[in-house]
Symmetry: C2
Subunit: 301 residues, 2 copies
């Protein structure tokens, strides 16, 4: 058996290409004293990874060139010298783009496959789900009857944020980049509306009186959304997907509306909010089990 690893070979300039990565085979790592060897079952591919490929100032250290690209994983323990883990255990961790990983077990969390499919720990019951939960509830603070707009509404974070907002009695409008995504967002996820931002005129399509805008993308959508804010609106800034491949920082939105509506925009990184994980896991597990929060996994073998 070999370990197949995808190494970060060079830092992308602009959009990443295959040339920035290199697939290598290496012997399986040694388990070692106290070690836990696991086989990767699922790797989550997320927008934040683009920032990890860069050395630009960020909230986390960059991935190292010549090492496996970083990423969240669900794995099965295949050998263990650590009393807390036994072969067959399924764990969520941060093993990156490789088929096997070994460590002393720190940072792993054991999953109970009878409660939910283990892959959910990388999505609705994991980092993207917690991001949506904290961004919407703790920063967005939606009140019943308010209007909540969510960008990247078909995505891992947006789809969940919008569904929680529906559960809280809000009117929820999603933004997505294809009609098919919009159909999914309104048809399956139950958002009240979905705007295809690539074909709609945002100036007229966005509703007046946005109370919460959960933003994953920045750029022109954020600029347009600010012009529709209600007074005292809340804008959890969760991602800036539109600019992750930019070679130099682009201007942002005009902030006049933020001032005139006395609204609050707050940057949010999920790793600051692990104290909310127990509440999140209890609520979200319940919602998923009851069918109140739906999800679609995009799995590539």
């Amino acid at each position: 058996m070999k370990n197949i690893q995808v190494l970060l070979k060079s830092r992308p300039e602009g959009e990443p290409t295959e040339d920035n990565f290199e697939i290598v085979e290496s012997p399986l790592p040694e388990v070692g004293e106290g070690g836990v060897l696991r086989k990767t079952l699922w790797l989550s591919v997320d927008p934040y990874m683009r920032a990890r490929m860069s050395t630009a100032k960020s909230y986390a250290a960059p991935a190292n060139v010549g090492e496996p690209m970083v990423g969240g994983t669900v794995s099965e323990v295949v050998a263990s010298n650590n009393p807390r883990y036994a072969p067959g255990d399924v764990v969520v961790g941060f093993d990156g783009w490789q088929s096997y990983a070994v460590s002393d077990g720190k940072g792993l969390r054991k999953l109970d496959p009878s409660l939910a499919p283990p892959s959910f720990a990388l999505g609705v019951l994991g980092m993207p789900g917690l991001t949506a939960y904290v961004a919407l509830l703790d920063i967005g603070k939606p009140q019943e009857g308010e209007t909540v707009v969510v960008s990247a509404a078909a995505g891992a974070v947006g789809s969940i944020a919008g569904q929680i907002a529906k559960l809280k009695g809000c009117r929820v409008i999603g933004l997505a980049g294809t009609d098919a995504k919009c159909e999914y967002v309104t048809g399956e996820l139950g958002f009240d509306e979905c705007i295809n931002y690539k074909t709609a005129d945002l100036k007229t399509a966005l509703p007046d009186g946005i109370d919460v805008y959960v933003d994953n993308v920045g750029g022109a959508i954020l600029d347009a959304a600010l012009r529709k804010l209600n007074t005292f609106a809340r804008i959890p800034l969760v991602g800036l997907i539109s600019q992750y491949n930019d070679l130099k920082p682009q201007p942002g939105p005009n902030l006049g509306p933020l001032l005139s509506t006395r609204s609050t925009m707050r940057g949010m990184i999920v790793t600051d909010h692990s104290d909310r994980f127990p509440d999140f896991l209890r609520d979200m597990s319940g919602w998923v089990k009851e069918g109140k929060v739906k999800l679609r996994e995009d799995v590539i073998e």
Copy 2:
């Protein structure tokens, strides 16, 4: 006696000119039943007035063309049919650009000239002072030892915000547009540093690790300041002087740093915070009396 009024004659496009105003004389207004007639002693000229000249969406109704331009005033009551006010009373109000005004007295507040010069009610003990107090303390929430940056540091709001931050044990850096203003800011007001943003390279001149940025101006300074934020920084957005004369909304700052530092930017309009006026007046009166907050009035006869 005549009432001299400065009417808003037309709405400025870009920078206001004299042609947008018209000076007219009219008879003194009748006092009427329950009325209070007063003579304007001081009129405060403030940046927010530019927004009042426009019909662009804002937090307050625009001034009407053909009527006196709006503004905060300190006046002396010259005739009164209202039992709450007597001739000789000095009041703060919102009588606008005219030498006399009459009303039923609503919205007036009587001043005690023995406590402080009445003109202070338009500055350090009035709207600009309360703006600085709430923006810095309630939104900025500075902690001892933190770094506070203040734009328009020689201005009515900035000069006070910075001095309160010094009183709270912060390191305070001001930004101003001339060396003379900077000398005043460090020499007289006691800021630790002042940067002339017109001659300095903000990328290097601004300190690393800004915890609170009290912003009055927006534009390039805000963009530069965001790149120097500490984690969990707070940015009370009090004004956007740099864009008030813009004919169309300009782009704003790149928001990448707001996200990566998990900082909070919040628009603030002083009229929302009248509940803080008693605390403000108590604290600020004390600070001014003890010489802990200094001020310079710019009076034009």
